[in-house]
């Protein structure tokens, strides 16, 4: 089994990201999966992308554009 590498992009562990930890994952070519050195997360690139989308649930206003008079408006 060869050593792991970085993979196509510098993916972080989505499970650790949820607890405010930025941990780069490494890619196991033999298994075709990314894995976290710190926690037990493993997943394919598709799974990482899916989890990255899921974790955005907390950013409810992520795509909202505030108007200049909205910063003290709380009626919506």
């Amino acid at each position: 089994m060869a050593q792991s590498g970085k993979g196509r992009l510098n993916y972080r562990c989505p499970s650790c990201f949820m607890r405010d930890l930025d941990i780069d994952m490494f890619y196991d070519d033999d298994k075709g999966e990314y894995y976290c050195l710190r926690c037990q997360y493993t997943g394919t690139e598709a799974d990482v992308l899916e989890k990255n989308e899921t974790l955005r649930y907390r950013y409810r206003d992520m795509m909202k554009r505030y108007g200049e008079e909205d910063f003290e408006r709380f009626d919506d």
Binding site: L9, N10, R56, R65, F74
Partner: protein, 610 residues
């Protein structure tokens, strides 16, 4: 809206952060690699081009490494002549073969060197700069610039008038986010420009005698609610930080523009003045991509950031300045005691939470409207704590200004099982029931009367079994007074003749991290006329009260601070609680009585202990 001032800062960092460690994975380290130097300079050129294309002038902060690169020096001279960019000097980007050969170290954080090394490096870097450009710079900076470093630079190179001097709330949270490997413990400082005192960079100067001689700016303008409980490097006026936080979808990131706009909005609370800075290191625009973002998205985010600032400038809503120009503006338009205020809302999570930040030479404070106006963070700048950092001191890495109250690190209102967390709030008591205002969610409105900055909170209802009380809180920051006034007024009661009890309290301790410090040595006291009751902290959970007390106080020698509460309420009695090992806190407070239309008034006062 009023006009916002902007500093855009670029640095030709020949060995960008992360370039070797992260994106260069699998290679033997070689910081002299030609392709690395080439790419680094290309990123700098790209950043400069994007700023200039949008009509923005920049401050070019030359790194030590770049001073050995003829092309970087030539570019800086050309852009200075062509676009009016300022040529400054940063202590970021020290790593290069010349530095490592000379100092035999891989250290790169200027504030963590011993003082003698700091001085030697300053002389080395400034003289090298002079040899390249024929003058000394007006601006400098790093992630943090400790007081001893600033004082030395100002004495040796008096041309310096501006410096990037801290990263806002980049402390234990950043350390944790980086898998406990990012040693920037810089909590407790101002979020907007300030004049550092000669004693402590984070504590603004109160007068000319305390003035370090420079104007400090923060490294990035950060989200004042998201950063307080999250990774600072996800929520700042740094387009790639937004990508790091995954706050985008389909290449769109309106949060970045909301963040910039909310900073513009702060002009309403600061006499028409608002400020932003953007300072993106080249490592964030690496051709290999960064985090999940490919280069194309990194580039697009920076281009969009510059375009938005450029658009604001065209509309007359923004003025771009170099750091030196900004320092002059700041000196001309601000007084020492003039506070910085920020009424800030959550613009990301959809919670509608609102906080108020206040900073002056005597304190930095945060009021949380979602907890009834409780004070949730308090830094006693009045102490002007001398706390040297770097090798050879007792705080090698920890440059944070200590807190008295920090609700995230030291619990706040909610604790598990037993004990108390740091917060300053009040309880309303009636018929064997009590309600803490921390559980009364509300909103605030800012106003100014003379030297007072006033937060008027929307009234809240407190429901007891047989009585409903409508109560309003007004919080007043009196400029230059080193104290915060809380007024509680009952607007209405279901029984207008009722007489309820009030307990105004602050639970506090001291520290810079989540972990407790030794409370031995603290002294609690109550006083009235010639009477003074004192108790040395010994973790014995003792409590004392005094009718009509003039003050309830605590002296904290480790942070050189005396904090006290005073009161003018009816039937007032001062008290303190000592705390114990499982709850290493102390409590100061006043109890009293309150009827309809009556006001119960207390002050929290901060002083230098000796």
């Amino acid at each position: 809206m009023d006009t916002m001032l902007l500093n855009v800062v670029h640095r030709p960092e020949m060995v960008p952060e992360y370039a070797e460690k992260v994106t260069g994975h699998g290679r033997t380290e070689d910081i002299t690699r030609e392709s690395l130097l080439r790419e680094s300079l290309d990123i700098f050129k790209t950043q400069q081009r994007l700023a200039h294309e949008n009509g923005l002038k920049t401050t070019i902060q030359m790194t030590y490494a770049s001073l050995f690169n003829e092309e970087a020096v030539r570019l800086a001279k050309t852009h200075h002549a062509q676009f009016g960019d300022e040529i400054g000097l940063t202590f970021l980007g020290l790593p290069c073969q010349e530095f490592r050969d000379k100092y035999e170290t891989q250290e790169f954080c200027i504030w963590m060197f011993c003082l003698e090394d700091k001085k030697a490096i300053v002389r080395d870097v400034f003289e090298k700069f002079h040899a390249c450009f024929g003058f000394y710079p007006e601006s400098t900076g790093s992630y943090y610039m400790d007081a001893a470093l600033i004082n030395y630079i100002k004495s040796a190179y008096p041309t310096v008038k501006c410096a990037v001097a801290t990263c806002w709330e980049e402390g234990p949270k950043a350390y944790h986010t980086c898998n406990n490997s990012w040693y920037t413990f810089l909590d407790g400082g101002p979020w907007a420009p300030w004049i550092p005192s000669t004693a402590n960079t984070h504590a603004p100067a109160a007068c000319e005698a305390e003035d370090s001689g420079i104007v400090a700016i923060p490294h990035l303008s950060r989200d004042l609610i998201a950063c307080y409980d999250g990774n600072g490097s996800n929520f700042g006026t740094h387009p790639q930080n937004i990508l790091r936080g995954m706050i985008y979808r389909d290449g769109q990131y309106p949060y970045l523009y909301n963040l910039i706009d909310q900073f513009r909005y702060q002009a309403r609370f600061n006499d028409g003045y608002a400020y932003n800075m953007m300072f993106v290191g080249p490592g964030w625009m690496n051709k290999m991509g960064r985090w999940e973002a490919p280069y194309e998205l990194l580039y697009q985010a920076y281009a969009d950031g510059c375009a938005y600032y450029g658009e604001l400038k065209k509309k007359g809503k923004l003025v771009d300045m170099t750091m030196g120009e900004f320092a002059e503006y700041y000196r001309d338009n601000k007084t020492y005691t003039q506070p910085e205020c920020a009424l800030w809302r959550d613009i990301l999570y959809g919670s509608q939470k609102q906080v108020f930040w206040y900073c002056d030479p005597y304190m930095r404070a945060c009021v949380n409207m979602d907890q009834g106006g409780a004070l949730v963070d308090l830094r006693p700048y009045a102490a002007k704590l001398k706390r040297p950092v770097g090798v050879g001191t007792s705080h090698v890495q920890d440059a944070s200004y200590p807190y008295l109250i920090q609700e995230k690190y030291r619990a706040g209102y909610f604790t598990h099982y037993a004990g108390e967390g740091t917060i300053r709030s009040a309880k309303i008591i009636h018929g064997g029931e009590e309600a803490d205002l921390c559980l009364c969610r509300t909103k605030a409105h800012f106003s100014r009367e003379g030297r007072d900055r006033i937060l008027t909170l929307d009234p809240v209802d407190i429901e007891f079994d047989d009585l409903t009380v409508t109560l309003q809180t007004v919080i007043t920051f009196e400029e230059g007074s080193s104290r915060i006034r809380y007024d509680r007024k009952i607007i209405e009661m279901s029984d207008p003749e009722a007489d309820v009890a009030v307990d105004e309290y602050m639970v506090a301790c001291y520290g810079t991290t989540e972990y407790p410090e030794d409370m031995t040595g603290l002294t609690l006291s109550l006083g009235r006329d010639d009477e003074n009751l004192e108790l040395d902290y010994a973790y014995r959970s003792r409590e004392r009260a005094m009718a009509s007390a003039d003050y309830a106080a605590c002296v904290l020698p480790p942070i050189g601070t005396r904090v006290s509460m005073t009161c003018t309420g009816r039937d007032k009695a001062g008290y303190f609680k000592e705390g114990y090992a499982f709850s290493p806190m102390f409590t100061l407070g006043y109890t009293g009585k309150l009827r309809q239309e009556e006001v119960f008034r207390t002050w929290l006062n901060l002083e230098k202990a000796d």
